[in-house]
Amino acid sequence: MTDEKLLEMVNISKSFSGIQALDNVKFELHKGQIHALMGANGAGKSTLIKILCGVYQPDSGIFKIDNKVSSIKNPFEAQKNGIAYVPQEIAVQPYMTVAENIFLGKQPIRNFKIDFKKMSDKAQQVLDDLNIDVSVNKLGINLSIAEKQLITIAKVISVDSKILIFDEATSALTLSDTEKLFKIIRRLKQKGIGIIYVTHRMEEIFQLCDWVTILKDGKFVSDSAIKDINLQQLIRNMIGREVASKIPQDSTNDKRDPTLNKDRFSIANLCIPGMLQDITFSVKAGEVLGLAGLVGSGRTELLRAIFGDLPFSEGTIKIDGRVVRINNCSQAINEGIALVPEDRKTQGLILNFSLKKNISMTVLDKLKRFGLINLKSEAVLANSSLDMLSIKFRTIEQPVSTLSGGNQQRVVLGKWLATNPKILLVDEPTRGVDVSAKSEIHNVLLDLAKNGMAIIVVSSELGELLQVCEKILVLNRGRIVAELLTKNTNTHEMMELATGESAKRESASNAF
């Protein structure tokens, strides 16, 4: 690693309608450096990256590339300056082939026309180089999410860049694909390319990166070499106070009412061709069951199927011993099931609606008087829900889009708790939520279980499952491959089962 400064951002500030997203932030990247960019949600990482890529322009500050002052007005200029970006949102052109996707906007030209053969060959070369096994002629619309993410990475790497930015680039990848990516990144580092790596996954940072910059609330907190910092310090810098790395397991199991030993919810032989096979398990009242597995293993599909959002032809669901038929979401709600969906912004909340309206959405029938909605009852409900979940807000009339990720997630919870569910399904309870809010949401779940709710949690953070659940099912390609008791297992074992390979990883630390 040389000491040549590839990129220097000084005093960068940016605000959006009064919210200061970045406040005098500095960031330095050296040649051949793998530099992690960390921070809680809302800390400003994404804004900084987008400024680098030309999506936003800074209000003030300078940045220098190769010691030359530059300004980047749009993604095209960013590319010209040698900056390439693997975005968090996975998207490809649906009606173009993989080859064309990789060379989008830069198709090789011969005689004023696109040279499709050359494009196809070059694309194949890129894919072979990266060990990616996808046909260059496949249409974007036919790719799986993991394949899409790999293609996006290939697209970026195929261009000669000075600076590469990876934004949550492993979210859809298998363990082996992640390893492949790390190999590639290390190779790029040898070539002197500067890499900015954004992730929430602590183990990846310790495994891959040389340097880390931490942002908090739009301000620069610290930057240091990875070898000079440990997990505790990292977390402290991110959230500003000591947080126990593991929430002690509640002795909830012991305190649970012994009469509630019956199965509250059970499912038998659920099959959805291509997605789930022979799913059978049960959950007791007051129990928290975790579903582990890789993206694509069928966890979200399972929750959706239980909730009536995904039809299935084979399988039986029983609630309190009684067989139920659930064909749509309102039936599920009537049976006492609630689903906190994976993506709160597009599936859980109406962003333009007020807090009040979002919370009451599920229980409008109960708020009626003389056939019309009673606004006062609605307000009372909203206030008590927000209070109970200690959500930070100004007024119940404010649009929910103005809240932070962690608060928004709690509003979704509140919306569903208002229906008094017996069974709560939660999909990625703390995705995109900062560290302190994470632990608060965990507490909420544990308390709900203590009071008798049966909870099923899907999460990609294995550590999270270990903290919140007593029992964990591991899904692999649509099947349940293991039923584990939390106190007897660890993240390694879960990961092995989830990937179906006995990959032994040397991880520098546990996920918190």
Binding site: S17, F307, N352, T362, K392
Partner: protein, 329 residues
């Protein structure tokens, strides 16, 4: 429960919040402002304009379009459109008059006409819901189909009602003061407004308009709600058809020409967003009034019909552009 105490969280600086509020209010009231501006302008241009006769005339003239606009508004909130209203308003009236001419008493014929309107709404609704096709285009298609049907029935001729009593509602006034048609318009507007603000169905229209997936996952039956919206629109069109047929004592297949366009203009002028999820019935009334005043002014200023059309097209685009740019603030 071990939860933290509630903390106040100010997202905007107080100066920003004021600016935000001002913009929001301007957008909400823009239709009223527009109305006022035009009334003032009108009084400058013409002496006749502010006479009570003229003003009442405006409201009367506009009530037919107004009722159609109310139906369109409900659909627009749910992010759908009905481009067939121009033709179904013709069909309902045609059916009413034709069966009157073969002997049915006019009251019954009105019921049949309403039924036809509901039928059209069902047709539109079922196709849109069942196939998820673009409602603009589906209703354009059904509209043309309906037009062909009306033309076939009437053979492109005007059809006349044989009953004098039939024309009472369209032309008559309650206590000799207020036109029945205006009263019906206002009544329907109020009913619709109540429905939108205070009923579960009304709330669900806004939800669907803003994010259908969330609606579905929150237990709303999207299909039923959309179908319901189309039915309401079909119903409104049939009532409007009744009034205009009754008023004219006759009807013709293309009586509603241009109405699909004008109803959308009125809704947008009233402040309902074309993106769905906002708006209201009373706002639509204001929008309709603005349109009525505009029409009236253009006539008083002796502007040719064709030029009127150009002006309306331009104003439409202006309002839509304003809607969008204010929206993004």
């Amino acid at each position: 429960m071990r939860f933290n105490s509630k903390k106040l969280f100010l997202n905007f600086s107080s100066r920003e919040s004021l600016k935000f509020k001002v913009i929001k209010n301007v957008r909400d009231q823009i239709s009223l402002i527009l109305l006022l501006v035009m009334i003032i302008a009108g009084s400058q241009f013409s002496d006749v304009f502010l006479s009570s006769k003229n003003l009442l005339n405006i409201v009367w003239a506009v009530s037919v379009l107004g009722i159609v606009a109310l139906g369109q508004c409900v659909l627009i909130i749910a992010c759908r459109f009905d481009m067939s209203v121009a033709y179904s308003i013709g069909l309902c009236g045609v059916v009413m008059v034709v069966i009157q001419n073969i002997g049915m008493p006019w009251v019954a014929s009105v019921l049949v006409g309403v039924f036809v309107g509901l039928l059209v709404g069902t047709l539109n609704g079922l196709i849109c819901v069942g196939t998820n096709a673009n409602p603009f285009l589906v209703t354009l298609g059904t509209g043309t189909l309906i037009y062909a049907t009306s033309l076939t029935i009437t053979r492109s001729k005007t059809v006349y009602t044989p009953f004098d009593a039939f024309t009472d509602i369209g032309r008559g006034k309650l206590f000799g003061v207020v036109h029945y048609s205006v009263l019906i318009f206002i009544f329907l507007a109020i009913m619709l407004e109540l429905m939108l603000r205070y009923s579960k169905f009304g709330r669900s229209l806004f939800v669907i308009g803003l994010n259908e997936k969330v609606g579905k996952l929150s237990g709303f039956s999207v299909n039923k709600i959309v179908l319901g919206a189309f039915l309401i629109c079909g119903f409104m069109v049939s009532i409007a058809s009744f009034i205009v047929t009754s008023r004219n004592g006759s009807t013709v297949a293309n009586v509603g020409l241009g109405m699909e366009f004008e109803s959308i203009i009125a809704v947008v002028l009233g402040g309902t967003s074309l993106f769905g999820g906002s708006g209201g019935a009373l706002r639509t009334v204001v929008g309709v009034l603005v349109l009525g005043v505009l029409n009236n002014l253009l006539i008083l200023m002796n502007v040719q019909t064709e030029v009127q059309q150009i002006i309306k097209g331009a104003i439409f685009l202006l309002i839509v552009w304003l809607d969008i740019s204010l929206r993004s603030k």
